[in-house]
Subunit: 516 residues, 2 copies
């Protein structure tokens, strides 16, 4: 009954508007509308699923032991599926790679690097942060992987644009101050009277005074929010000098950096794995059984058969009931198969992105001691893109900064350099923000260029559009399923890999239970 | 030379405007202007300070073994001063009080509470969070007190106003969206052309599009920033419904809550002591020597003498060269002394503030499991003021919420109830945000009303104005020094206590070194 539907919908929008999500959600329940999330709850396969069917779990070959492949094997394993993982690299994890002292990192067409980080230090070469809503946290809980806060927004970190550095708190106070002043004055002058009732106007002005820390005449003249040379204590402290003009503040170009954490995937707080992201891999491998993973196995062929799938690699051949292919699409596209030209064409569409990071180990945590920056990110318009300060080991002796985390042409520029030259360039750039101390006391460094990592060759792969090619690969091709963060709306996030794995596991298990 | 001074100052303001604090700071150095902070660096007294003087360290009696008194004793102890601390309460720490299972909390005119929190859980009845710039972190580093992030801002926490709950990310997205739309349209219409050049206008519009996530026509029509019923994964997810109208969003009254962390003392990230704030007390007491602290010693008289200070308490009498009085001013004012009527009058000026907190121990962390809230604060217009979710023990079995943290009349209302009634009321209020689960699975609770804590009787004390009475007490009265957070611009912060202690230690040590 469309009328009733519209009425309900109208009511809901009204409730959502006035009452926010909580009221909206409650109202949906009250109206008997099941919120979508009820339908999407993941139910892992269970051994009991088979007991009523008189049928056993199937044999599944999983191509790639990154987070997608490991998650799929882990979930299927709960119901007793016989999973085999083929991994081309020397160890499981894929882009979930944490480097520590004693590790060795090779790259395509480049020298190997020995990782020399000190005891207790690590460098997350791949994913490092997790949003609160992400399924990644559920796996951390389930697997007993300890988490801690990742500082993604730090008022004390810098924004470096147009050759100048400013604390993020200062940039934000100034931009908000002037925005508030401009709108408050426009409101106060009556310029917006057509849009605002008198009550709206009063409420808006009350908000703008707070938001911009405006003076009595609705002027922005600076604010303690900007920061201090000396913070208040016995006296009121030495605040930074008054702000520049509106034109100067706008010209500084800090707008991108101060809105960086506004998105649903970057909002604070974020979380990280205690001791390095790869504990997720370690626990998954333990749960799956390391003996199920064949490393150094580069897949050379995938053949879908009426009664199974045959996979060959440089060293063997396996036949299974089903296959889950989790390799990066641009590499998967190159493997001979019999899945059809449309599959190959679709696999070729996502574009791999170059991305790189460098870890810089210092002999002292000068960013805490001198800059009073505890974790967080300085955003720059330099080719290093940004500097991450570690969100762990506070007050320790040493620490590891991420000296660049860039992508695209900037990443390729660094990737083409030798490791020594990458470090030299990163230090020269970072000095522009932190001064000479940035080049002093560097004990070791380790850099990664993901486009040069064998069997991965990219940081992530992005679809030009989420079109029919995307949905084609979300469905199985015969007995071959595709999975990976690249098949979700969470590209480059571990949560994407996990959601994709869950989706495929759900579909595959349903099929096995229904098959005759 | 005033002209030169003005020129320098003008130049600095210009540099500060265009270049931010970094450039400003560098320029100050380049111009030979020592930034203030150089002058304020604290140099602890050292034993060697006396060696050239042929003079020994003095004997100091310190009234109160809270953070101020302990810090003063710790710093003086570095140079060998003979410090005695008199503490009226049963143990050191003052308002730095962390409660754990097995503890007992008494209060004036009320029943004692047995703390029943489970293993590994704690309740910071007093201070709990530390800003990056605060000296508190320096003491944590020096004393080996481990720190971790305190989540002070959480996009996922709620704002509860006018009977409705909304996620903070939603409230912020809507308020920013409409502010951006209003200003963008005013800008675009030419209404601000007198204030903006064409270049300014373009830059401002670029910023506002980002800031409000505006559509192509500069309209705010909602944003993924508002949040989702189901976050993106295999599909684009189920976003919250479109926002209410501008009038509805303004009427919701979320403005105070979304600007709550804008100040320099509340900006993210903040930090907390691993395992409870009182580790600072524990380490200070260890460094000082517990034998220097006499507990249960309520001071009954302070007499300034030509050659020393005599202090009496209910159980003894001590004579020392100097005295540092760190008691709350409203209690200190009641102790007989010979320091003059102006001192008594000044001590009576700061007004003690009532404040209370309740810790609610739950049998499961439903805020993480169901609400996906990991740490942070929900702000409300209810008498509980706010709810804190724990920034530690993520994914653990149990957890302790702060069910209210209020002050003034709201605190007095709760303080006047029995502990059971405080809990009942807090649960009824919290249910308005979190639903029935808020009243389910509460294993234990513990509440504090600071105005009812013997020998403290207030959460903090505030000056009506930082006038001559304030500065009078910042100076010694004869051989008696006053110290405490109430004698700084950091009232109610441990950093205030520590800065005050450092100030007095510096002055006292200088005097001792100069005295004949």
């Amino acid at each position: 009954m469309e009328g009733a539907e519209l009425t309900r919908r109208g009511l809901l929008v009204g409730i959502g508007a006035a009452g926010g999500a909580g009221a909206m959600y409650a109202a949906m329940g009250a109206l008997g509308l099941a919120p979508d999330e009820q339908d999407k709850t993941f139910t892992p396969p269970r051994p009991g699923d088979f007991s009523l069917q008189g049928r056993g779990a199937a044999k599944v070959v999983i191509l790639g032991a990154g987070v997608t492949g490991l998650t799929a094997a882990y979930e299927l394993g709960k119901a007793g599926y016989d999973c085999t993982l083929l991994e081309a690299r020397a160890k499981a994890g894929g882009r979930n790679l944490t480097l520590r002292g004693g590790d060795r990192l090779t790259e395509l067409n480049g020298p190997a690097q020995e990782v020399k980080l000190g005891e207790g230090l690590y460098f997350n070469a791949g994913p490092a942060r997790i949003a609160q809503w992400m399924v990644t946290l559920d796996y951390c809980r389930e697997l007993g992987v300890p988490i801690e806060t990742f500082v993604n927004r730090n008022a004390q970190a810098y924004i470096h644009t147009n050759g100048q550095s400013v604390r993020q708190r200062t940039a934000r106070a100034d931009m908000y101050g002037y925005v508030a002043e401009l709108l408050a004055k426009a409101t106060d002058s009556g310029a917006l009277d057509r849009k605002l009732t008198a009550e709206d106007r009063d409420r808006l002005l009350t908000f703008l005074r707070r938001f911009g820390d405006l003076g009595p005449e609705l002027d922005y003249e600076g604010s303690p929010r900007r920061g201090f040379f000396d913070y208040p204590g016995l006296d009121e402290g030495s605040p930074f000098p008054p702000p520049g003009s509106l034109a100067q503040v706008l010209a500084a170009g800090t707008g991108r950096a101060i809105t960086n954490d506004f998105g649903h995937d970057q909002a604070s707080p974020m979380f990280q794995v205690v001791g390095g992201t790869d504990t997720i891999v370690t626990r998954l491998v333990e749960a799956i059984g390391a003996d199920r993973i064949t490393t150094g196995a580069k897949v050379t062929g995938i053949t879908d058969l009426p009664d199974g799938v045959e996979v060959t690699w440089d060293g063997g051949r396996i036949k299974a009931d089903y296959c889950i292919a989790t390799l990066p699409p641009h590499l998967l596209a190159k493997i001979p198969h019999n899945l059809g030209a449309d599959v190959t064409a679709a696999l070729r569409l996502p574009t791999p992105m170059s991305t790189g990071k460098i870890g810089l180990e210092y002999d002292r945590r000068w960013w805490e001691l001198e800059d009073r920056i505890y974790g967080g990110v300085s955003e720059t318009d330099l080719d290093i893109a940004r500097i991450w300060y570690p969100s762990y080991g506070y007050h320790g002796e040493r620490g590891v900064l991420v000296g660049y985390y860039n992508h695209g042409p900037d990443a390729e520029l660094y990737g083409a350099l030798t490791p020594d030259d990458r470090r030299r360039r990163a230090l020269t750039q970072g000095k522009k923000i932190h001064g000479e101390k940035y080049r002093t006391g560097v004990l070791s460094s380790i850099s990664i260029a993901w486009e040069r990592q064998e069997h991965i060759q990219g940081g992530w792969a992005s679809w030009p559009a989420f079109d029919s090619s995307f949905t084609l690969l979300q469905r199985p091709s015969g007995r071959v399923y595709f999975a990976g963060d690249w098949l979700t709306r969470l590209t480059a996030w571990m949560a994407g890999a996990m959601e994709s794995a869950r989706g495929v596991v759900t579909e595959l298990h349903k099929r096995v239970l229904q098959s005759s």
